[in-house]
């Protein structure tokens, strides 16, 4: 059953050095405040898992929290590059970053397999792409393959299997929770349900804690018994958004380009805006 705690306590209890952490939210409901708390608590050697690393992982990578990134699209949406991600891959700054990359469909299905208690999922995908042989390419990190062919036992057709993702911790942001820790979110739902259900532990930051979750169109409800910690962090998705509560701060996404392009500007940003800040103040 979910405990309702402070963000600092949730991160302290749920996320440990070396953990595989999935902070999900597909453009919408990205748990930025929780990400900043992880930076503040100086977690190291994390395997960061996320379909779209977005600014949140650019920040964690730049802050030196990550050893490995598992992802499918690492850009600043509508703006350009994730410069901290690029700097880590291209120049190993602040440290080398191992990568394991997939398509969106592959990542989504890896979460589905994890949430379903299966070791793999099947899709039509990857055939003919170099993603299929990433481990064998020059200067790759040569990790175990997570994409393999699989034959249909009925038709003989060859399809593609992807390995399940089973993170140690999922971190998501939601609109609301009730006092029993039942969690509710709506709008673009991404893979957050699958991320939580595939993970051993979970942290959910919410805009509001309410007495009762009245049903909402398009809502996803995660019962409290599937959640480890809930923290009340209004605005905790900024500069992403929480439909019905906040709007996406597109200017922030644009401004991030300049901050992140330069190691010094980024380091200054970390020291001014993350390390000293209380939870939820990016």
């Amino acid at each position: 059953m979910a405990e309702i705690v402070s963000l600092a306590e949730a991160v302290e209890k749920a996320i440990h050095d070396g953990d595989a952490v999935a902070m999900e939210g597909f453009t919408h409901l990205i748990p930025f405040a929780a990400g900043h708390e992880v930076i503040r608590q100086r977690r190291r050697h994390l395997t960061l898992i996320r379909m779209t690393p977005d600014l949140i992982y650019d920040q964690l990578i730049g802050a030196g929290c990550a050893r490995k990134l598992i992802f499918s699209w690492g850009g600043n949406p509508g703006v350009g590059s994730l410069h901290r991600f690029r700097d880590a891959v291209e120049h190993a700054w602040p440290t080398a970053l191992e990568i394991e990359e997939h398509s969106h469909a592959g990542m989504a299905n890896r979460y589905v397999a994890g949430a379903s208690g299966l070791p793999f999922a099947v899709l039509r995908g990857y055939n003919g792409t170099d993603l299929y042989r990433q481990e064998t390419l020059p200067a790759s990190h040569g990790t175990a393959p997570t994409i393999k062919p699989i034959t249909c036992p009925f038709t003989g057709e060859t399809l593609t299997a992807v390995a399940a993702i089973r993170p140690d911790v999922a971190v998501i942001h939601a609109q609301r929770a009730d006092r029993a820790g039942n969690v509710q979110f709506w709008g673009i739902a991404g893979v957050q349900k699958e991320a939580v259900l595939s993970s051993r532990r979970s942290v959910v930051t919410v805009e509001e804690v309410v007495d009762r979750l009245d049903p909402r169109p398009g809502d996803v409800v995660l019962p409290g018994w599937t959640v480890s910690y809930v923290a009340h962090v209004p605005g905790g998705a900024h500069p992403s958004y929480a439909l019905g509560y906040t709007v996406r701060d597109n200017d922030y996404y644009v401004a991030w380009d300049a901050i992140s392009r330069n190691r010094e500007a980024f380091t200054r940003w970390l020291h001014e805006r993350v390390y000293p800040a209380p939870a939820g103040q990016p």
Binding site: G74, E90, L123, G128, L131
Partner: protein, 270 residues
């Protein structure tokens, strides 16, 4: 008659539009009303929304964020903007949009961008230069593109043309066009028909019916085949009589500009 007069006036007073605007208009014209269209962000999204605002009001826009039938009044900056969800016929999870909607081949057309593209329409959005694990330029990666390229009934690529981006051989195959030529899509089990058009800021390329090599078949007003060949990294074939496409109509330009106040730069693949 009025339309014709306007068109002539627009043509007389050229240049009243940018090359990017022409490209977006040309891409929009490739979409027919009532089609279902899986839309990538950036130029493809601008073109698809322009089509919906002009000749194809019944165009069904599907974004990988799970929004089916989105009807944004202005261009979204990201694929997951709230206005996509709020205007959609249905919002589904990300696993569902790929598994139930894209994968079975029920989407008519996939609209993709590219960082590099080769003569068989294979697309690279992963790495440029160096080695895979130590690249000169790390691009964002695959996103939804590989399966859009594999599973939509057909694919249209919208990309600015340059000898750096139109290459003999892409540095990394992120999304498959025709692979190394005829028969490859069938051999790879890719269910869609593959890329039917590459729409650039100079004109339109289409696959040769026999070799599947992309060939220049259309040019915008004022662009020469020689210019297009110069901005192509392979020895670009040109069809016998490339069609000279009509420039944007005032209605198209008005609709495009009111969607966005300009076209978003497709910088996410740079």
């Amino acid at each position: 008659m009025t339309d014709q007069v306007s068109l002539n006036r627009a043509e007389l007073s050229e240049p009243t539009y940018t090359a990017d605007e022409m490209m977006t208009v040309a891409a929009a014209r490739a979409l027919r009303d009532g089609m279902t269209c899986f839309v990538g962000i950036g130029l493809p999204s601008a073109a698809a929304n322009l089509a919906r605002a002009t000749h194809a009001p019944g165009l069904v826009l599907i974004y990988e964020s799970g929004t089916i039938g989105a009807k944004p009044a202005e261009l979204p900056l990201s694929i997951g903007d709230g206005l996509l969800a709020e205007t959609a016929d249905a919002v589904v999870s990300v696993p569902e949009i790929f598994n139930y909607w894209l994968q079975p081949g029920r989407i008519d057309v996939g609209f993709l961008g590219a960082a590099q593209i080769d003569k068989f329409g294979n697309i690279n959005t992963t790495v440029i230069g160096g080695d895979y694990g130590n690249p000169r330029v790390r691009l964002p990666g695959a996103g939804g593109a590989p399966e859009i390229a594999a599973s939509c009934r057909e694919v249209i690529v919208v990309v600015r043309q340059s000898s750096r981006s139109f290459v003999e051989r892409v540095d990394f195959i992120t999304s498959v066009g025709y692979g190394s030529g005829p028969g490859d899509r069938q051999r790879l089990g890719l269910t869609g028909a593959g890329p039917k058009k590459i729409i650039t800021d100079l004109g339109i390329l289409e696959p040769d019916p026999v070799t599947l090599e992309f060939t220049l078949t259309g040019l915008y007003p004022g662009v020469s085949a020689a210019a297009a060949r110069e901005r192509t990294g392979w020895d670009l074939a040109v069809t016998a009589e490339p069609e000279i496409m009509a420039g944007p109509t005032p209605a198209e330009l008005d609709a495009l500009r009111s969607l966005s106040g300009g076209i978003p730069a497709p910088r996410s693949h740079e």
